[in-house]
Symmetry: D2
Subunit: 360 residues, 4 copies
Amino acid sequence: MSSSFGTDFRVTTFGESHCFGVGAIVDGVPAGLALTEEDLQPQLDRRRPGQSKVTTDRKEGDVVKILSGTENGLTLGTPIGLLVHNRDQRPGDYKEMSNVPRPSHADFTYQMKYGIRASSGGGRSSARETIARVAAGAIAEKILVERFGIEIVSWVSAAGDITAPDPDVLTISREQVDGNQVRCSDQAASEKMMAAIVAARDGQDSIGGVVSCVCRNVPAGLGEPVFDKLEAKLAHAMMSIPATKGFEIGSGFAGTELLGSQHNDPFVQKGERLGTMTNHSGGIQGGISNGEPLVFRIAFKPPATIGKAQQTATFEGDDAVLEAKGRHDPCVVPRAVPIVEGMAALVVLDLAMRQAGRSL
Amino acid sequence: MSSSFGTDFRVTTFGESHCFGVGAIVDGVPAGLALTEEDLQPQLDRRRPGQSKVTTDRKEGDVVKILSGTENGLTLGTPIGLLVHNRDQRPGDYKEMSNVPRPSHADFTYQMKYGIRASSGGGRSSARETIARVAAGAIAEKILVERFGIEIVSWVSAAGDITAPDPDVLTISREQVDGNQVRCSDQAASEKMMAAIVAARDGQDSIGGVVSCVCRNVPAGLGEPVFDKLEAKLAHAMMSIPATKGFEIGSGFAGTELLGSQHNDPFVQKGERLGTMTNHSGGIQGGISNGEPLVFRIAFKPPATIGKAQQTATFEGDDAVLEAKGRHDPCVVPRAVPIVEGMAALVVLDLAMRQAGRSL
Amino acid sequence: MSSSFGTDFRVTTFGESHCFGVGAIVDGVPAGLALTEEDLQPQLDRRRPGQSKVTTDRKEGDVVKILSGTENGLTLGTPIGLLVHNRDQRPGDYKEMSNVPRPSHADFTYQMKYGIRASSGGGRSSARETIARVAAGAIAEKILVERFGIEIVSWVSAAGDITAPDPDVLTISREQVDGNQVRCSDQAASEKMMAAIVAARDGQDSIGGVVSCVCRNVPAGLGEPVFDKLEAKLAHAMMSIPATKGFEIGSGFAGTELLGSQHNDPFVQKGERLGTMTNHSGGIQGGISNGEPLVFRIAFKPPATIGKAQQTATFEGDDAVLEAKGRHDPCVVPRAVPIVEGMAALVVLDLAMRQAGRSL
Amino acid sequence: MSSSFGTDFRVTTFGESHCFGVGAIVDGVPAGLALTEEDLQPQLDRRRPGQSKVTTDRKEGDVVKILSGTENGLTLGTPIGLLVHNRDQRPGDYKEMSNVPRPSHADFTYQMKYGIRASSGGGRSSARETIARVAAGAIAEKILVERFGIEIVSWVSAAGDITAPDPDVLTISREQVDGNQVRCSDQAASEKMMAAIVAARDGQDSIGGVVSCVCRNVPAGLGEPVFDKLEAKLAHAMMSIPATKGFEIGSGFAGTELLGSQHNDPFVQKGERLGTMTNHSGGIQGGISNGEPLVFRIAFKPPATIGKAQQTATFEGDDAVLEAKGRHDPCVVPRAVPIVEGMAALVVLDLAMRQAGRSL
């Protein structure tokens, strides 16, 4: 099944870029939780295009409506229906692409898979699909905060070839991240990143980047070996976000160059619990959370849709030059921050519920 | 559910390091396929410890038996039961670790999750669990070869800080990979890797590495957006293998530093099909295979169990020094090669069946 | 997961009786299918209350809107979002029941399960939930008609103690069924049923009934032993419809009184295929369709909400007398007909897709 | 997926009638539970053929072995591998049936679905498959007893046209049921049933019957509306048992003839909890347990394999007469009793775990 994610806390989404709307059904929400649209809108606003000069200037209100599952501001335990209307349902910006599949975009593969594709925009492969993830993730996050005091914070750690110094994962906050338009943890780096993004935009080009994420106060014991290990579910979740090319937990690829004696995280008593002195493990051992912060990174490629002329081919294989029209992000990572946070919340909550089920 | 993987082609596994045996039930196998134990044993032999001086010298026969699902060497369409006996069921090598959780191993997290853990070895977190993956993967691979001519080849692309030059992914073969004990694609690099592994072993230490993989002849159209995208399922599969810390598809993290105009893969006619001139996408666009080779990389950390003395703490938080006894791999990547191939086969076949289901 | 049904063709629903609306996401719909709201509305109209004097006289328009997944009247292969608005969102008819759980209704069990319940109507246990099933089932049925020529027809075979003679399952049609307001296959029986329903209504009481169903032209080979046998999935589907108390396939409970030599269906050549002379099996052997018509029956209890005074207890255990206000069906079986048809279509299509996946 | 059942507590089975063995993987078993083969064997012995003159006189030891998931008699929280060897792997009793599909047996449908089938016995459709259900169910039942004090008792309530009077569902015990070879709740009826079974056997024929079941002390709140309602999951489970033709919960089909005012179960305080005066609901309202005993009935057809000559057709459609050789049960209901109990335990435990997951 392609449009559902999660086992006990399960999100199912719908919606293309230019249909009536996008939305989700969130099933498994515990009953009696205070929940209104105001709990969901802030993260949607952080995801929304048109926030700053480094994102697309399309105006999308992206106002979410709760269709079911609550009464008098409390959840009923029944599925939450969510709907966000699409404002522009049929723009003409995409006509020139009808016979020329955009290089590295999903035009070609959707056509091959389904034998048909949405005539405009990215259809289901559009980033608008992530609205449903963010709204559902905000529900999950609220539960995680109330039940466990979990804190989830993402930030931009690289844009193009500019890498920010690592922040203190124990203290970094969304306020700090939102202190600059790039959502970089470091002010100096953010300015360089901004310049790089603007340069790409002005060159009708695009750049990629890296989003990092920390989940604090995750209790030890979450993750379902052997196939639904915590890092495996996180990787699945993150690599399902459009434009992702890589995932690392803890030391990641760099950790492969260390000796075991350097990489191992020695145990040490931390207040009431046994913790580790270092955190190369990224908060996970054997697929199960160990009580340390979860720390992971996601690679996002440069957006495929660019205005710059590209030499390519038509569906029929004839030579063609493509210059994409329309309004597109020169760099997706600032807006990817709340998407990563939402997907992280979905993973952690689902695994927390699966672990709770064991304690009947 | 933790011990099952796949939707239409579904593998469920069981077995700890020192119980009666490890095995799997493989459900969804098409009927009428020629299948005997001889189809499964070669990959198990490549995974087996004791193959060379760079792997543990434990002797494990790891002979697989098909318990059900075939008759006269043909599959019946019913579930295939697989069993591999454990030879040494209760060794004494692990006693000194009973009160000292191994740093960066699963001793602590299993205890936190389950309130109990296997008294010896890694229990379910042991690498012996991967036997079931390899056996099941060999079934999937056989089907992929027969129905699509798909070729899956993995190799060691880095060990410690030694990185091999990229091979030609269009031609690299298992014979070539098995040409050296490290399973590196490059002979010169393999010798340096071997030296590094031996040095780590002699120092009672361990090193990590990177395994790369290519899947050739995968038809366009596989992958189930938006949550079961092909790269998301591959990431899930690979990050569920013990000791993994990272996953990259195509350009991976390095691709984030390119401009869109550099990263995009222009289309070009290739014989009968539309292909791409470059393959930064790693054979996937929008979560769906595009007909180009799937290319991805997996980071493996240095094994956590080392003989070298480590300053750590007991379960109760008291200071302790741990020197692990027993026979352990100084580097897992050579033996990880068939595991990665097996998991890749499980992912591709399951998605191929899901796609076929659409064409009723 | 509670709100999803199906594996490859999967329906997820949302909505209570008095929230904003009810709806569904239908995932796995093959691409390129002609589909508009006009394909869904007829079955919704057959399910709608207020059609006749034997159903509740509440007026519910129940107009379905397709939110996503189609363009220019063709399916895109992406999930179909469906929405039906609730007209009366907060009626006052239910106030007297707030502290007295309706006998044999879900008020008590929802309160026990969730610790909260919708303040009015049946909440998620309301029959309005079945709107989503009917709409989704209409999509499935359209596919079954186009690809296999499958015909699904349900009818009322009993109401209260009046049982209609068995119709010819090879020819019975929806037109014939809709020939009377009860949707009984037999005109004489329908008149007695109508009288019984009216008598119950006039007595502020209710009566139950039996709905029968036939699926013709189902190809042999559908059903997934051993747990997802065709009859097991049908039973699951039908017993998930509100107010159901029993399910029979083929000979059902009466068949237990036959000898094997009487019950067995002998094989006989029927044109191009091997068929059976009798159909005690109800079209299924060993959990797999055999090419004969699927024939099954579902028992519906008398509706629990009645105007007649009932001696019962409050949530606190105090004696109470309940006289339900509001507009309620005295008998649900006429409106259950399209619901049964819809659920049957969901089961058969999902199993057809799973079988197709095997033939890659 | 066909060979798995359950969501959080999940059983996956394998094995044909004449392969190496049958078995299961039971995933989701809570850790720290005392569990050895002795907990599983008693129900297997009740299921075993050759117990009495009314069952087949084949001798099958059916001794279960736990392959994994326990240590020192305690569960580890890891999957339990279970194996029961098949004794006679290739008998010759079935040769005459190779070209004549047995009427109302699965020979024809397996051939149609898979294009191949086991050459002897019923293959996967054999009743031997139920061994895995019974063993897994015994694990589930042990957990239900320890955590909730749940009691599950099944009995034969009808055989052929002989129906036993209803026992007291509050007190009926397995000891009482095992007081006669038919496993009927009533001694007088059991003797008539025995005579009917013997007569059928002597006539080379077979008879059907009905198995009833009660689950006592099930807490209120189990069941997952709207699709995984408790009665829907029970129906699914029971109708997946070989030879079943019907399922009823509570009042069942007979309840359709009552008025609502007769059928409704009035609430009444029962000690600490709110209970109902009658139990037409069978312990379930709105798909959720209400704290009253679950009571349901399952119809089993007469076994299809009989020695009596049957006029039928070959696979090619030619006329044929079949006289089945081999040793077959003239009536399956006595041996179905532990199978029904096992499947009931699987359903209730899975739903209890899903409900517990909600209370994180």
